[in-house]
Amino acid sequence: MAAQALASAAHAEGGYATAFPFFGAERRGAPVLAFTRIDDKRIYRKTQVYEPDFVVVLDEGLLETVNVVEGLKDGGAVVVNSVRSPEEIDVGIDAKLATVDATSVALEVLKRPATNSSILGALSKATGIVSIESIEKGIMQVFGDRLGEKVGERNAKAARIAYDRTVVGESHGSRVLKASNKWLPDVRELPMGVAGISLDTDAGAVGPGSFLENKTGSWKVFHPEYDGEKCTMCNFCWFYCPEGCIYRKEDRMEFDMDYCKGCGICANECPAEAIKMVR
């Protein structure tokens, strides 16, 4: 929705813009990719963006696993949702970089960690590609249309606050990310009929049970804090956790933060109040 709101903002300024998600099938909360193209004339290309001018990162955790500046044009800029200052962030290259704690803004204004509207404020501040007024209009149009005027207004407000809080600076990077490693079999290697069979590939395991390779822990904003003293080992949290990332040990429960999505069910259901959700 943010990509669309940005396109809408650019359009409001008389420009031409297109926006589209990478048509994935992840559920809510999973990392997603979306693109916006802005120009003053009609845009014909219907392809993904490979050489962006600006990159917006909603989840700082992704910097650990994804080379977000891949293809970034010279003189481009990066906007990151982070409590840290631009100088403290390493994206692997020297770049203009802006940060804002969009999660806090979203929690304050929307009461939910939905950062996609706030981050647009930061983008406006960092790049000037569209004015904050147009961003507000774009958000009103896209969020407002879909979720109601009030929700639209709140999201526009979040963008404005984020705009004000955005810090623009330079970052000097040295991080080297290993090239993304994906199993890409050729026509001889791909199992017939795309059968899901157990294989140990260079990119890790595939096939039955291989979702273990997918560390969903990066999705969370809050995480459970467990107090073993209070725990009665009732096993409720173990049953109720949608991820199966709470393990039963001899005399305590163990929470696997590599997979916890931070839903808060365990804390909500624990009869002994042994779990608290914290940021």
């Binding site: 026509v187 791909l190 039955p208």
Partner: protein
């Protein structure tokens, strides 16, 4: 070998029994009904060892076949017309999963208007479904092709489903002598079922039919296309081995008749081929150089074989028992593609729709038109709607 007077439906049912299909899921529809009934009888008489699933629709029939096949057993089904249309969604799933399901399709007109008689318009929408499709022109061939179908379908080289097509009523309900294959002979020809790809098995965990992102699709589609191309070889072999064992050679991809020195050739599918065969004899007796290509396999399409024939003749006519509205007969369109670039008069005859009889006179008419085109090198009318009142012939 027993020779018996039987219908095409019986021949199909019998063929599935002798091929040892172990799961059959089918739903009755005129004119396929007797296939279902015969199989039920075979099973209830203890002659056929098979799970018969009395499904509530063709959609379920094909779904159950797909899953049974994916779970490692040999399957068979049969349908026609509206029933085939109802299966439509599941057909490319069978081929995409590379499952060697075999199905008899009794070709019948597709609504609307509703009509139960022969026409090929029911299977034409399945052209791109990834099913191997073969058209028969007699009941012997129906039985034989069911057996051959399993040999073609199964194994790593192909691993694709096969539809054995027979014309409604003209074959399905017409009796003619058929040499019925006995079980040991059939067992010798159709090897015991052994699945090739990954199957669903509690003792060897795998998944069949996973949601697949763009990263894997081109490779997957390429493999299926390759398998369909490989089928050409498998079809030839299946025919050869069959001919050796049973002494009947149905001709593989195509079955040409009197084409070597022919000036005008007609390309036909299904039972029109049989009728045309007789007309060729009759016209040859009068010294007219006509020939016939019985197009047996519609997928994979025998482009090269047809082109080689086309290069030697002066005019070709394609007879279609189907129409693709606004362009012409599907077989004609395909043929034009196969002979692209050749300086050759090609004519399309659309006829026999909805059970309209295709008579000897009709075939003579087509050959006369073709001979004229062969003589003059000129095609007066690309597409002729045979015997259609108010339409110029």
């Amino acid at each position: 070998m027993v020779s018996k007077i039987c219908t095409g439906n019986y021949a199909a049912a019998y063929g599935s029994m002798r091929s040892r299909a172990r799961t059959v899921a089918a739903y009755p529809i005129t004119p396929q009904t007797f296939i279902v009934e015969h199989i039920s009888e075979f099973i209830n008489n203890g002659e056929m060892d098979c799970e018969y699933i009395e499904v509530e629709s063709e959609h379920t029939a094909m779904s159950a076949c797909v899953s049974a096949s994916a779970s490692g057993v040999r399957t068979f089904t049969a349908t026609s017309s509206q029933g085939l249309a109802l299966m439509h969604e599941i057909l490319p799933i069978a081929s995409g999963m590379r499952l060697p399901v075999v199905m008899a399709v009794v070709n019948r007109s597709i609504a609307s208007p509703i009509n139960i008689w022969v026409e090929h318009n029911d299977i034409m929408p399945e052209r791109d479904s990834g099913w191997i499709q073969v058209f028969c022109d007699n009941n012997q061939e129906v039985q034989d092709m069911i057996l051959q179908a399993y040999r073609i379908a199964e194994g790593k080289r192909v691993a694709l489903p096969v539809a054995v097509c027979l014309d409604a009523f003209i074959l399905s309900h017409t009796v003619e002598p058929v040499d019925l294959i006995e079980q040991d002979a059939a067992d010798k020809y159709v090897p015991e079922f052994s699945p090739t790809g990954a199957i669903l098995d509690p003792d060897d965990v795998a998944a069949v039919g996973v949601f697949t992102p763009p990263d894997y699709m081109m490779e997957c589609r390429w493999q299926t296309d390759k398998a369909m191309r490989n089928a050409v070889e498998a079809i030839g072999e299946a025919n050869e081995v069959f001919a050796k064992q049973f002494g009947r050679d149905h001709g593989g991809m195509i079955d040409p008749y009197m084409v070597d020195d022919a000036e005008a050739v007609l390309v036909t599918m299904g039972t029109a081929s049989s009728t045309a065969h007789e007309v060729v004899d009759e016209m040859r007796a009068k010294g007219k150089k006509v020939g016939l290509v019985k197009l047996r396999f519609w997928r994979p399409y025998p482009s090269e074989l047809l082109r080689a024939i086309a290069e030697k003749v002066k005019a070709v006519g394609v007879f279609d028992r189907a129409v693709s509205y606004g362009i012409g007969g599907p077989s004609y369109i395909e043929f034009r593609n196969a002979v692209f670039g050749l300086d050759l008069p090609v004519m399309n005859f659309i006829g026999g729709l909805g059970g309209r009889d295709v008579s000897l006179q009709d075939v003579r008419f087509m050959y006369e038109k073709l001979l004229e085109a062969a003589r003059t090198g000129v095609v007066k009318r690309d597409i002729t709607w045979m015997g259609t009142r108010g339409v110029e012939q």
